[in-house]
Amino acid sequence: MKKISIDPITRLEGHGKIDIFLDDEGNVANAYMVIPELRGFEKFAEGRPVEEMPRITPRICGVCPEAHHMASAKACDAVYHVELPPTGKKLRELLYSAFYVADHSLHFYVLAAPDFVLGPDAPPAERNILGIVHKIGVELGSKILRWHALGMEIVGMLGGKTIHPVGALPGGVSKAINEEERAQIEEWGHELVEFGQFSLQLFHDVVLENQGYVDMILSDPFTTPMYYMGLVDENNKVNFYDGKVRVVDPEGNEFVKYAPDEYLDVLSERVEPWTYLKFPYLKEVGWKGLVTGMDSGVYQATPLSRLNAADGMATPQAQEAYEQFYETLGGKPVHNTLATHWARLVELLYSAERIVELATDPQITDPNVRTIPTETPDEGVGIVEAPRGTLTHHYITDEKGIVQKCNLIVGTTNNYAPISISVKKAAQAVIKGGQVSEGLLNRVEMAFRSYDPCMACATHTLPGHMPLEVRIRDAEGNLLDVLQKNME
Amino acid sequence: MATLIIDGQEVHAEEGQTILEVARENGIEIPTLCSHPLLEPYGACRLCTVEVIRRGRSKLQTSCTHPAWDGLEVKTRSPAVIEARKTILELMLSRCPNVPVIQDLAREYGVTEPPFPAEDPDEKCILCGLCVRTCHELVKADVLHFAESGVERKVGPPFMEKTRQCIGCGACTIMCPTGAIEILLEDAEVYKEKPLGPTSAIWVPSMQAVPRVPVIDMDACIRFRQNDRTNGEIVDACGACQMLCEADAVNFEQEDEIIELDVGAIVVATGFEMWDPVQLSQYSYGRSPNIITGMEFERLSNAGGITGGEILTAEGKKPERVAIIHCVGSRDHNAHPYCSRICCMYSLKQAHLVRDKTDAEVYEFYMDMRTFGKAYEEFYERIQEEDVTFVRGRGAEVDVLPDGKLRVKGEDADLGRMVHADVDMVVLSTAIEAPHDADQVASLFGLSRSEDGFFAEAHPKLRPVETNTEGVFLAGTAQGPKDVPDTVGHAGAAASMTLALLDKGEVTISPQVAVVDEKLCSACKTCISLCPYTAISFIEEDNVARVNEALCKGCGTCVAACPAGAITARHFTDRQILAQIEGLFRLPAEETEAEAAVEVSVAEAEGVRS
């Protein structure tokens, strides 16, 4: 029996390692995606004033702090039973849409694109955002950086800080916007719509035009049917900020649709001794281990699953892209993991369009953006759709609004099981007879990179690292060979 | 200026003077009952009748009403005059046979028996109307009037009934020549004479005081009472004292006033208060007028007191036995634990006074005789020789016996048994204590007070007149019980400290002040409102807070509050204090004997000061 550790898994926000065990023939016996940390936000949230949670929980993840900020603020609204002024709600969604543009572009260009633009086998030293810039040229590169920046600018304008914003609190937001700011946002919004289209075009040119990639996307190792989760509005269109959570089964039929405060009826989490991260699953279907399909409660919550779980997009251009997406990949639901990148870009376009919609809403400059809570606080659940999956915050407070209990089911956590499964499939596909190469291992990484897993989020952990090496041992555990991941 | 002749003597008169006035000025006696210098002449009693000769024609006239014209000749004792007065007195005596004044006068004029039988032998009023004029002109109460006419004529309030108009000032009783009016002490607010207190509305609190200035008791004074009663309608009632004062020193407008002074130093000499012996019921103070405090005894034996310095009991008799009890309220854990330091000596002096002014036996109940001052012990010995009986032991209790005598009980430590003495007068040598409002004075001047309640000096041995507040000094009993010599010495010291301070013309401030590091001050303005001395001001142009070192007293409150760590307390910096704490724990834990610990904290503290 041999063990391979891929660690650190790079270009993922947060931290994980993969232990691959080879049998005597050198084929993959099993692969474990190990999350080596935990932070215990759920514990130290206890005793904190609940209105501070929107400022505390973003530190779960600096990549998607806005998601935690919003989920937390919504949970606070529920705790205080307070109704937001319409403009307060719209400003939150505006901030959130801007964040989506920034975050999706970040993931696509900084984390995912190197695998496609530069190729999985490109030298590691170049396989990064800077490499991309070098390849596509500084001018275009800085243009992309600017687009990403615009999203962040809007977040900063509304939330104070671009990373870990502070503007949302129980009952609304702290700051209204004036006409000048509105106009600025609208202008940028149009630019970002253009960016969305550009990115889809880029994906089309670089990936879909490249048969090798298309084959890889459609290949079996990267195809895993399972349950799909996503937040939808009253018309079952994709929504990130508000609505109900919809789950469809591997055949695409609605399995359940639940309101935030019903999440405990639908979800359970599984603890394994070899990792700090828990595995959520659909209670009703049950935990059958790390397997997928109709009978396994394993589901995913990703851009792909959101598209699968919805009936379409709420904005025209995104709707077009949505339809083209399913045309190309042969109808709903799509099970191809790598298609998630494409789905992400469809969402990016939607978010950009949504920015323009909200920026042109006549109510958006209304100064009334906050309701002072008057009800006695007790319990509340807040759900938003984080870029990396459905995000649930659940607080129970005393009558002074001090958190007594806190439960969090965080974006990537939803995808822990699918990621593990994808990783195992990929490993089994690419590692044969103990033959391991850096390129192969990078393909294994690609299997989960498409989920854009954010382990910072997932484990509410603070990541760390172990030596990366592939240790090949015999059945007695004697070291036969040591391979470095990035061998030249 | 008129010139006239009275009884053959040439006299001069001012314009508007009456013959009576001129005669009196020149020592010529003319009897009268109804005239009073404060009131208009009225000529009611007619006793002042004289013979007035003008242009050769002679006439009998009342001298109190007749102007002293130029060229008049007046005879005050001519046969005609004597005859007239005799007749008048016969009639008076017939009306008021039992009034001493009238009896004396009548006798003088040879009238021994009233010619007519008296209708009412108790009649005293001669209807002179002096009271009516007093009530009208002076008191302005207009209570008394003449009623009826002819033989029925009489004086009294309207319908002879009680009236609220009467303020019970008693002026009429004082004026009435025949004592015909008496005041009935019902609900009228009569001015009651205090046992050892003032005897009239204007009085001299201390006859030996220099200057010996009288004061007006506004609650008793007719003028002020009328003013209050009528809400200022009658403002000029009475004023007798003013009219009579030749120095024209009486000023009814005088009032307390607040005077503001800018000073460079303050001497607090607020003195002491006598402790009230009512608080210890065993001494029965207040249950008999003959149980008095040392202070009251002083008043009693004061030449200016109501007894003119005679030592008398409330019954007005010389006491036969007097007891003096020491340490009443002093050296007593039910009152003041401290020694009042003056009682022993004044008790001895009072014993001496009693022996000197009466031949009463004196019993001194004392615990210890504290005769610490110069020549005090000698005085003590002298008193012992004046065969005063000294009982060593606290006077435990005073009982008021049914016959009004007083029984003092106490333990005689020398005999080792309880003793008692029945006496006519008990003098309680009561404690002195800090004034009741000492706390307000303390916070006003930032003084602290010692356990006994008196103000605390900066150092019990080395700085006895200074306080912890710069420029504020203590003098006398404000700092603690003292006798006169000590007080004078203490006050002298305070005065010279003050002069030393003022003379320098500048003050040395302590170096323990707060300073703002303006590089770090971020204008949060947290400190501004914290300074009790408003030493921190915010400098808008530089956008920083700044400490005025002359005003800063170095308490360090702002330092502890400054969230930016921008304020430092010189000589008490955070670094120094944190270093002290670390220093404490650098010691091996077992070495926590007092010495070690103290050494360290002292050493560290020294480090801080140097």
Binding site: P58, L462 | C562
Partner: protein, 321 residues
């Protein structure tokens, strides 16, 4: 410097949320200048370099390592020691490495309490057998190790010798760039200094007008809609006065009180104590009862005054039994 004269730079995250990494991305177009000026030898978040490469480096090989994240596990600490060895200048980058940050609030509890909450109590957890993660576990195919989870979150400075501290959660881009320029220009302050921040506090950068403070009642942020003046003056607890400036007062800019992520002012030993003292000092009460009542309304003192600095505070954590 490398032979091409470029600075040899390493970026690493220990126990952090990743925000500091994104903050680097927030350099935006400047990241290209950074690329031009420095060779990034190690940046797990964005680049495929491995621990092995670091281990292979000669000691002091990297000119500068920007280390973000706190020390939560044995593994974090190992990395701290390794990177100290391999770098000439080790920089504690961001609030976590600087003073422990919000995850440091875990120091209010113990490892045991955290585990029980996360793996046993939480209502969505289905764990009848009471399974807890093991640092070493035998799966059928072999052994899997995960790092040891400490009782206490520590700062980088508490486990390694640190040259410079860059505060902020996260450090703001202009400040990061200022630090980078300082590094490139080689004009760095004395060792142990805080860089990329101001001497003055947040108030100095805050847009609001401040007056003398007399607070009769403290409000929690959601309880009132503040007027357009100093929030602290209005009774909303704001850490601005006790917090190093440099962030640009971004939170108060949108009407939310500062929570202190830039850490204590230069001369302040303990940020929480300084803030507590200031807050209590301006209470407008002249009797003990009134004062006790007013400050009694303040909930969660530790969580409020040490929101970002509990591990770096004098006491580090709550009492351990």
């Amino acid at each position: 410097m490398t032979d091409n004269g470029k600075l040899k730079l390493g970026l690493y995250w220990a126990a952090s949320c990743g925000g500091c990494e994104i903050a680097i991305v927030e350099l935006r177009e400047k990241i290209l200048d950074l690329d031009a000026a420095a060779d990034i030898l190690f940046w797990p978040c964005a680049m495929d370099f491995k621990y092995k490469d670091v281990e292979a480096m000669p000691d002091g090989h990297m000119d500068v390592v920007l280390f973000n994240g706190a020390i939560r596990t044995s593994e974090n600490e190992e990395m701290a020691h390794l990177l100290r060895k391999k770098s000439k200048v080790l920089v504690a980058f961001g609030s976590c490495a600087h003073e422990g940050c919000i995850p440091g609030l875990a120091n209010l509890y113990t490892r045991q309490a955290v585990f029980e909450r996360a793996y046993l109590e939480t209502p969505s957890t289905e764990n009848p057998d009471g399974i807890l993660p093991q640092t070493s576990y035998q799966v059928p195919e072999g052994e899997i190790e995960i790092p040891y989870f400490y009782n206490t979150v520590k700062t980088l400075g508490q486990v390694e010798d640190v040259d410079y501290f860059v505060p902020g959660c996260p450090p703001q881009a202009p400040q990061i760039w200022a630090v980078v320029e300082a590094i490139l220009g080689g004009n760095l302050p004395p060792k142990g200094s805080v860089v990329g921040a101001n001497e003055k506090t947040v108030c100095d950068e805050c847009k609001y007008n401040r007056e003398e403070k007399h607070v009769k009642k403290f409000y929690r942020p959601h309880e009132i809609i503040p007027e357009d003046r100093c929030l602290f003056d209005q009774g909303i607890i704001c850490a601005g006065p006790a917090t190093r400036g440099g962030c640009g007062a971004l939170c108060t800019n949108v009407g939310m009180p500062c929570r202190g992520c830039y850490g204590p002012a230069p001369n302040v030993v303990d940020q929480g104590a300084a803030l507590l003292s200031a807050v209590a000092s301006v209470v407008d009460a002249d009797t003990e009862d009134e004062a006790a009542h007013i400050v009694g309304e303040i909930v969660d003192p530790v969580g409020t005054f040490y929101r970002f600095g509990l591990p770096a505070s004098l006491l580090h954590r709550t009492k351990l039994e």
